[in-house]
Subunit: 320 residues, 2 copies
Amino acid sequence: MKELSLPGAADVLAAAARIAPHASVTPVLRSQVLDTLSGARLHFKAEHLQRSGAFKFRGACNAVSALTPEQAARGVVTHSSGNHGAALALAAQSRRIPCHVVVPEGAVAAKLANIVRHGAVLWRCASTQAAREAECARVQAETGAMLVHPYADAKVIAGQGTAALELLQQCDTPLDVLVVPVGGGGLAAGTLLALQQAATPCELVLAEPAGADDTARSLASGQRQPDFVPATVCDGLRGALGAPNFALLHGRASVITVDDDATVAAMRRLWQVLKQTVEPSSAIALAAILADPARFAGRNVGVILSGGNVDLDALPWSRP
Amino acid sequence: MKELSLPGAADVLAAAARIAPHASVTPVLRSQVLDTLSGARLHFKAEHLQRSGAFKFRGACNAVSALTPEQAARGVVTHSSGNHGAALALAAQSRRIPCHVVVPEGAVAAKLANIVRHGAVLWRCASTQAAREAECARVQAETGAMLVHPYADAKVIAGQGTAALELLQQCDTPLDVLVVPVGGGGLAAGTLLALQQAATPCELVLAEPAGADDTARSLASGQRQPDFVPATVCDGLRGALGAPNFALLHGRASVITVDDDATVAAMRRLWQVLKQTVEPSSAIALAAILADPARFAGRNVGVILSGGNVDLDALPWSRP
């Protein structure tokens, strides 16, 4: 096993400078109704309004911007259930370099459309982790493209951390706790680095689907638990926690696991009250707060609304 | 027929001062994707993020705030398909006075829930204009409550105008044209007054459902055409253009009529691209722009996203 390349807190600052010309500064949304419902003061970082419709653009843009001209000329490749693929495609398109995206079966149609819209080449594969990585390696070998892993990548992790860094700067009050969704752990690990960079005592809580709870089991056991078959409506959180992500997060974050029913209920609330079209993988953060209200009562809570790319013809509450 | 009491441009300024302690300053949203799609520079005034989920709070709040203590003690009454009812209920709740809302059959469930949540008394009636007004008159006679008509009311019209006034102040560039939905004409007439108050040459375009196009026919013929049976997915735009609204708008605004299919398509785009949960009665403004792109090409266009109270279990694209 090769040595892990772990990003540090300062890398988040470097990423923020690198992506500043390209990424949006997304707003922070508040809601009296949701504050009353939760008993907490919620500060929603609207990353579903980020370019490409998810925070993923931050990491992808940081990785693409950091390529040497020689690397960039050969393009980039990744595997992604959707949001990272679209984000990388957009980042590559901005730098006018080729982009290949390996997409597992079962991906959300709206996300595939975003990838194609930004000019990437699509490669389909089975939905297992092994199939994704094998197809990705094949494309990489054939094209010489640089792999930009969706989460187990130092540049990607540092880039994702810029969302939390921005949120901390935007809030008029110090945050006591920050809740972010966890799948592969790019946003989670990046957020941890951002909190270290800001030198704040703010606690980090990860919201994870009960049907893909490898992060909870990994952090509890002290060993990564990458072998599982995900079963969750949160299509963006089906990946296994990455090795560098685990190394950064172990001992430094706690996890709340959430049933899909609670996630879908939270998603409806965000649509109905906040009027924001967020995807299940985003709504899970609010669901985690509502699942354990005593833990958050009276506190200033940051919530990263991570993405908003949903298939409007297959909403989770209208499925047969 | 009694003399019409028409508000003037200065009344919009007075309304802005009156509602400032209560109403939200809603953001202006932009989208590169929608600018490219339309060929125009679109500035979306996010009134679906207004308190109660629609611009209607502005007019209701202005009317309630202007009541004398004696009037206020007897409460307020209105008839509304939903958004005005909820807005008046919230405004009355803030002043701790009674509120009665007459609701026609066929109103959206989410809107009824908002009315009840803010403590108003609900009265049901048939969906015709005559039935609404008769029931409203009955409640008024029994309770002594002051009628706050949803649109044919000087204070309501002036209050609705504050949305456009705010938008003009928020934009970093002068707007060439402003597109707003029209039903009873409260927002439309208020917006006209705001443009007069701002002394801008900005053009006013009204977006109206083809299945409730009395405003188009009224402005074309020079005579109000209040007798029709509305048939449109835009539940907020089924009312007939009011008399003071007609008097203000005649000769000073043009209308684009829009089929429901185009409105629903625009609504999907706003959900998917802008990630904003707006209702059909809001989306019609974007639909009008996309229906006549040559008219808006290259121009700075203001669009009032008027409300976001939708029934998530009965979305217009998933109806049988």
